[in-house]
Every structure is written in structure tokens, then in C-alpha cells.
């Protein structure tokens, strides 16, 4: 009786329409922004660099706060990562910032495996997001996103070129995270050396095929700024939380005997550019790239690794559900097989044990019989001997009795005779 038939327009795209008056959905971006304000934002930065290169100081300077860091030793046996989460608020925007620092990077003698803990950490965050997304009952809009949105790679200011450790690490990370290289402790390089250094670094990165994060150029309002900033990469930064008075103001600076390096002075270092690019202009784009590019790549690789495909050999679309079902059946069948095998083995073992025990029992029984026989023999022997002894004894006692009688008789006869003799003697 009822059937549904959806008639749609021919698929050349929806028509544009002119509005005769003010409808009011121009407030839609505002509605969206208000909702996001209620929920709060989330941003995760990963800082990779050698010990003592100034990662924690730069984070303090960037976010204008004191993150309670402590110095790490240079004697770590392995590279570790330390993540700390902070809640910041500026006017009505709440930001949950997670700063992940590497501990012991570049300190070991053998640095071949240095990049591995970092890659593992990034993959772990992707994995936990993927797990949450694949759950049946999930709560994605409440989920605390811990995927790394930006990676600041600290290059030490040698003035020559990139170290091979830097190249290897960046190459491994460029498809997993947005890499922004920065030159740390830039107040040790002079202006001309810095210019040459930057060119050298960028050409090395290009020639090695390392894809660092490019500031997006598709939005007209920020394209101009981003293009010029793209030319200034990598940013040469100086970090400082100490304040020095310059002129009549207190500014963040580093004081040397020969002068004062002001952190927020664009002539002295690129710190302001970094802050603007990282936070003011491109934070949302960094998050979007992480989600749509790096995470999707990870997800695709992971699912393909697990055996899920979009199309089966006949090029018909296969859904995840069907593949999952098929795998589940396979798994159940294998489980059943294993269970049967185990059961069989168990039964066999039981039988063997039983046979063994039976043998032992039989042996014991025969031994018992044997001993019993021996015992009976012994007993019979002893019985015989006893009988003989008894017979001996009885015959002996008979003879003794007889002997005694004889003696008694002879005694009385003798006695009589004696008496007679005595008596006769008298006579």
C-alpha cells in the first residue's frame, strides 16, 4: 500500500535562489561560534629538541605564563615524552592546552632509535581517537582530543646546516603531524649568518623531501600574511620570561653585557611572527589539517592493515560492516576449532594418565601378591618348626617324666633296700 519514492532534482547541483528579504541565517556562524565557546577549545603542541635548547622557555613565553617546568638531566638512556595539560582562559575563550616535551632527545650516544618514541606517541593518540570513533556507543563531541596538532621542531643554531638527526626525525614525522621548524636561541647568530642559515635549511628540507607545514593560502583574508610568513620559515626565536626595563617599559628580554635582546621586537627575532602564525591566524587550520589529512591517512592505513577494504575483488562496494562480520565469523570458527583441539588434547592426556595409573596399580597388586605368598611361606615354615619344636618338647618332657618316674621308683626301691639294709644293719 505504501511505498516511498524520493524524487530528486537532476544531479547538476542545487539551484541558487535570491532572497526577497532578510531571513536571518547569517547568524549561523555566530551560533556555531557560541556553541564552541561553551564547549571550549583544545590544542596540543609537541616540542622536539635537544635538552637545554629552550623548549620550555619558549612555551612559557608563547603563552605568557609559567608552566612549572623543571630541568631534565642529560643522562636519559632513552628518549621519553612528557605531556602536561593546562587550562587557559582569555576573555571568554577557554583553551585546553597540552604541551608535550621530549626528554633526552639527542643525548644518547646511539641516536638511531631516537625518533621512535615520538612516532609511537603520535600514533598512540591517533589510535585512541580511532578506537573512540569505532566504538558502538561513543561520545565524540565530549571527547578530549589529544592528537598532536602542531610540532615545533627546534633546530640548534649552529649556523651551518641541519644535523642528520634532524633530517631523519623530520622525515619520519612529516606525514603524521604538522611540522613547524624553529631556530632556537637565535640570539647567537648574526643577521647575515641567519639569512644564509635559513636558506640552507629550507633547501636541505626540500632536497630531502621533507613536507613541513605550509601556512594556508586559500583564504583571501589571510593569504597575504601567510605568503609572506611562508618566506620567513624557519622562524628564529628567542624565549625569555624575565622582564627587563627598556626605555620606560618592562619588556620580556634577555640581558647581556653588550645589549638587550627583546623578545617581542621584530628586528631582534621572529618570536612575534611565530606567535601570530601559530595562535592568532592558523590555530584552527592546524587542527583541521590534523583531522582531515594526518588522521585520515592514519585511519586509512590502519584499516587497510586490518584487512578492511572499500571494494572487494569484483569492484562492488563492500561495507565495513560486512567485512567486519566476515572477519568475526572467521574468528569464531577459528576459536571453535581451537577449543575442539584443546578439548581433544585434554581427553587424550586424561586417557594416558589413566592408563599409567592402571599399570601402576596392577604392578602394586602383583607385588602385594608376591609378598603375601612369601609371607605365607615363611609362616608355614615357622609353623613346621614350631611343630617340630613342640614335638621335641613333648617327647622330651615325656622322657623326663619317664626318667623321673624311674628315678623315683629306683629311689624308693633303693630306699627300701637301704631301709632294709639299715634295718638289717641294725639287726
Amino acid at each position: 500500500m505504501t511505498s516511498s519514492d524520493v524524487a530528486r532534482q537532476p544531479d547538476k547541483g542545487p539551484r541558487g535562489l535570491n532572497l526577497a528579504g532578510h531571513v536571518g541565517f547569517d547568524s549561523l556562524p555566530d551560533q556555531l561560534v557560541n556553541k564552541s565557546i561553551c564547549q571550549g577549545f583544545c590544542f596540543n603542541i609537541l616540542c622536539i629538541g635537544e635538552t637545554g635548547i629552550g623548549k620550555s622557555t619558549l612555551m612559557d613565553t608563547l603563552f605568557n605564563t609559567n608552566f612549572e617546568n623543571f630541568e631534565s638531566s642529560h643522562f636519559e638512556p632513552q628518549v621519553k615524552l612528557r605531556a602536561q595539560t593546562y587550562d587557559l582562559q582569555e576573555s571568554n575563550v577557554r583553551l585546553r592546552l597540552t604541551v608535550v616535551n621530549t626528554v633526552g632527545f639527542g643525548d644518547q650516544m646511539n641516536k638511531q632509535e631516537s625518533y621512535q618514541p615520538v612516532v609511537d606517541y603520535i600514533d598512540r593518540q591517533f589510535e585512541s581517537y580511532l578506537q573512540e570513533e569505532l566504538k558502538i556507543k561513543r561520545s565524540l563531541h565530549n571527547y578530549h582530543d589529544s592528537r598532536v596538532h602542531a610540532c615545533l621542531y627546534f633546530i640548534s643554531p649552529s649556523g651551518h646546516s641541519l644535523k642528520s638527526l634532524d633530517l631523519v626525525t623530520m622525515k619520519k614525522l612529516d606525514s603524521k603531524v604538522n611540522i613547524i621548524p624553529v631556530i632556537a636561541k637565535a640570539d647567537t647568530i648574526s643577521k647575515s649568518e641567519l639569512h644564509k642559515f635559513k636558506i640552507k635549511i629550507m633547501s636541505e628540507l626540500v632536497s630531502n623531501g621533507v613536507q613541513i607545514y605550509q601556512f594556508p593560502l586559500d583564504d583571501e583574508t589571510v593569504a597575504k600574511v601567510n605568503t609572506s610568513m611562508n618566506g620567513h620559515l624557519p622562524f628564529a626565536v628567542v624565549g625569555s620570561t624575565e622582564e627587563v626595563s627598556v626605555g620606560n617599559k618592562m619588556v620580556k628580554a634577555r640581558q647581556y653585557p653588550w645589549g638587550i635582546v627583546q623578545v617581542e621586537n621584530e628586528n631582534h627575532c621572529d618570536f612575534v611572527k611565530l606567535r601570530e602564525m601559530l595562535i592568532c591566524v592558523n590555530m584552527e587550520d592546524l587542527r583541521e589539517q590534523t583531522h582531515t589529512r594526518h588522521y585520515e591517512l592514519y585511519r586509512r592505513c590502519k584499516l587497510e592493515e586490518m584487512g578492511f577494504k572499500d571494494t572487494d575483488p569484483e569492484c562492488k562496494p563492500v561495507s565495513l560492516q560486512q567485512t567486519y562480520e566476515a572477519k568475526r565469523q572467521e574468528f569464531l570458527v577459528e576459536l571453535q576449532k581451537r577449543e575442539d583441539e584443546m578439548r581433544q588434547m585434554f581427553v587424550q592426556r586424561v586417557k594416558e594418565k589413566e592408563a599409567e595409573l592402571k599399570d601402576a596399580e596392577r604392578e602394586l597388586q602383583s607385588r602385594f601378591e608376591q609378598l603375601k605368598r612369601l609371607h605365607a611361606d615363611e609362616k608355614a615354615n615357622l609353623e613346621d618348626k614350631k611343630r617340630l619344636l613342640d614335638e621335641d618338647q613333648s617327647s622330651f618332657s615325656k622322657r623326663r617324666a619317664a626318667a623321673q618316674l624311674l628315678q623315683a621308683q629306683s629311689f624308693t626301691a633303693n630306699g627300701k633296700k637301704d631301709k632294709d639294709r639299715k634295718n638289717s644293719g641294725f639287726m
Binding site: 500500500m1 505504501t2 511505498s3 516511498s4 524520493v6 524524487a7 530528486r8 532534482q9 542545487p14 539551484r15 541558487g16 535562489l17 535570491n18 532572497l19 526577497a20 532578510h22 531571513v23 536571518g24 541565517f25 547569517d26 547568524s27 549561523l28 556562524p29 551560533q31 556555531l32 561560534v33 564552541s36 577549545f41 608563547l62 603563552f63 605568557n64 605564563t65 609559567n66 595539560t85 593546562y86 587550562d87 587557559l88 582562559q89 582569555e90 576573555s91 571568554n92 583553551l95 556507543k137 583564504d219 583574508t221 600574511v225 606567535r275 601570530e276 595562535i279 590555530m283 584552527e284 586509512r300 584499516l303 587497510e304 572499500d310 571494494t311 569492484c315 562496494p317 565495513l320 560492516q321
Partner: protein, 340 residues
């Protein structure tokens, strides 16, 4: 604009939970992320899908045209429109792209001609239920693909406007049945159509009676009480819940009233101004749907109703796809493209 050079007022509020609150000693610029987000969403554009359900002749197309101030749906009473009494409920989806002050929106209106028009209306909601489920299913399949599109096209129904005829009495059985079944699947906004046949007192009584009937039958309409997240929202939504269903009048003709051009219906006894809150509640409906709660409608659909569908679907591992009688979705050119 994106460089905010003014020193802003910084509040020192500590937030509990597992993280450490930190004071900001100076300007950082975190606020600029709001502008970034605004620009990105404006560039990407929005999608909104609305479904209108009700008997023919209740003014569904007129209301949609009035809401969006353009000729979106063709009215069934225009002379060129060939109307056949369809024996079945057919759903008819039309998409348009509208733009206002730089904000682009792809609006899809799904019409349901034939609903409630037959003599025997049993199960007339089934095609609608099937359509809504199909949209959820489509989205789910896209989401589960290994190669996913960057932006999954959203054709899920965000809002369903249900037209109640202005009888003045109470909810009819078909209304109760429909809203009971669909209340859990889609956000229903009931409206009293052609409300210019009711006086203000009759309107109030009718609305109260409807609210009582909704309560008695356990029907949840938008804004659903269980989805309120914080006290402010609850307060706001409570006020809205006190005044649903909105009594609306739709028109696309303009008349002169006191020297102003207003949208209204001209009758021999006066002009009913559509956007005048003293005359009818169209302005309230428009504010609710478009100006204040549009994003919320989409969020409720995505975060709650779609998730419910997904949980149910993924738990039904025994049912194969063919049993559900869903047509296979043809992919473009036979292959699945991952658009970057």
C-alpha cells in the same frame, strides 16, 4: 581584523578537572581562534534539511516560502501544477543554495504530498520513517568507509515541521501516531497551520490542550528536555516549550499597512500581518528555527539522534544489508573517490 592588537580584558578563572589552571600574564591571542573558525565555516558553507509533513491544503509550501522569503516550493494550488491524488505518500526533496551576507546555505526541503490524504491512513508514516532512516544509513556508510570524503554530504533531516490543522479541539489519532513514532528519530516542531481561523483565546486553549495531549502520550518534541545541557539552555528552552506549538500564518503577498509594506493576508475584515507577534506567532517560529536554534537542531541530529541510530544499527549484526531492502548507493563512476 585577525590581528587583535588591543589589550583585552583577561579573566583569571581557574578550571578544575585533570589539568592545571594557569594564569596568563599578558596578551596571547587565543581569542583569535573564534574569528578563524568563523571564517572557515563561512567559506565551507552550511547545509540544512527540513521536512514538512501535513495534509494537503494546510499551507506547507506557503510557510516554507515565507520562512525563507523565496519561492522554494511550488504550491499545489497554482494553476500550472497538475495535482493527482497520489495513492501513496511520495517524498519530494528540492535543494537550493541561498546566500545572505556572505553565509552560504544549501537548503533542502522535503515535502510529503499524500500524507493523511487517503481514506485509510494507516501506516502513512512508513515512507517517511524509511526516508529518514535511509539518510542516516547513507551518512553512516560514508562515515565507515576506509577512504572517506573530506566533508561527508549531510542529507539527514535536521528538522521536521508537523502541521496541525486548526480544529481548536485536540490532537487527532494520526497526529499522535505520527509524532510518537517519529519523535525519537527526528526533531519535530509542531505548528498550528492557518491559525487565522482561531481567536486569541481559542488559540491559547488549543495550545494548552495540545500540550496536555503531548504529555499524556509521552511525545517529545523539539526542544527535547532530556537534551538540555546547562541551566541557561534549560531556562531558554523551557520558555520555548511553554509556547509550542506555534500558531502560524503564511503568505507571500505584501500589502501596505500604515505606510509600511508588510507581508500579510488581506481579508474583508482586516489585514493579518504575518510578522506581527500580536497577530500570529510566525516570527517566533522563524526566530526559533533560523535565528537562534538552527545550529542546535543540527547538533541534536548529529550528536544524539544519529548516534542512537548508529548504535542500533551496529548492534544488529545479524541483519544483512539485503534484508533491510536498501538500495545500493551508486558511487561516482563505480569507484569510491577520496576527495582531498
Amino acid at each position: 581584523m585577525y590581528i587583535n592588537i588591543l589589550i583585552l580584558y583577561i579573566s583569571y578563572q581557574f578550571l578544575e578537572k585533570n589539568s592545571i589552571g594557569a594564569d596568563l600574564f599578558g596578551y596571547v591571542g587565543i581569542e583569535a581562534v573564534l574569528d578563524q573558525m568563523r571564517m572557515k565555516t563561512m567559506k565551507a558553507g552550511f547545509e540544512f534539511n527540513i521536512m514538512v509533513v501535513g495534509q494537503s491544503g494546510l499551507g506547507k509550501s506557503t510557510l516554507v516560502n515565507t520562512l525563507f522569503k523565496s519561492k522554494i516550493s511550488r504550491k499545489s494550488c497554482t494553476p500550472n501544477y497538475e495535482e493527482k491524488i497520489c495513492k501513496t505518500v511520495k517524498l519530494h526533496a528540492v535543494s537550493h543554495v541561498i546566500e545572505e551576507k556572505g553565509v552560504k546555505m544549501k537548503l533542502t526541503v522535503v515535502d510529503t504530498p499524500g500524507f493523511g490524504d487517503q481514506i485509510n491512513n494507516e501506516n502513512c508514516w512508513e515512507p517517511i520513517v524509511k526516508y529518514i532512516n535511509e539518510q542516516y544509513e547513507k551518512f553512516l556508510r560514508e562515515e565507515l568507509n576506509v577512504n572517506r570524503k573530506r566533508r561527508i554530504p549531510d542529507s539527514r533531516v535536521h528538522c521536521c515541521i508537523y502541521f496541525l490543522p486548526a480544529t481548536g479541539h485536540r490532537l487527532r489519532p494520526i497526529d499522535v501516531e505520527f509524532m510518537k513514532r517519529l519523535g525519537k528519530m527526528v526533531s519535530i516542531v509542531p505548528v498550528i497551520a492557518k491559525a487565522d481561523t482561531l481567536t486569541v483565546e481559542e488559540r491559547q486553549e488549543f495550545k494548552e490542550q495540545i500540550r496536555k495531549d503531548l504529555d499524556a502520550n509521552g511525545i517529545c518534541v523539539y526542544p527535547q528536555e532530556e537534551f538540555d545541557e546547562d541551566p541557561d539552555e534549560r531556562l531558554l528552552n523551557h520558555r520555548i516549550r511553554e509556547s509550542i506549538p506555534f500558531a502560524v500564518v503564511g503568505t507571500d503577498q505584501e500589502h501596505q499597512v500604515n505606510g509600511n509594506k508588510v507581508l500579510g493576508r488581506k481579508t474583508k475584515w482586516g489585514i493579518i500581518e504575518v510578522e506581527n507577534v500580536a497577530h500570529c506567532e510566525f516570527a517566533n517560529l522563524r526566530d526559533l528555527l533560523i535565528r537562534s536554534h538552527l545550529q542546535d537542531l543540527k547538533d541534536v541530529t548529529h550528536n544524539i539522534l544519529y548516534e542512537n541510530y548508529r548504535v542500533r544499527r551496529l548492534n544488529e549484526s545479524n541483519i544483512t544489508f539485503s534484508e533491510l531492502e536498501l538500495s545500493s548507493w551508486p558511487t561516482e563512476n563505480g569507484t569510491d573517490k577520496s576527495q582531498l
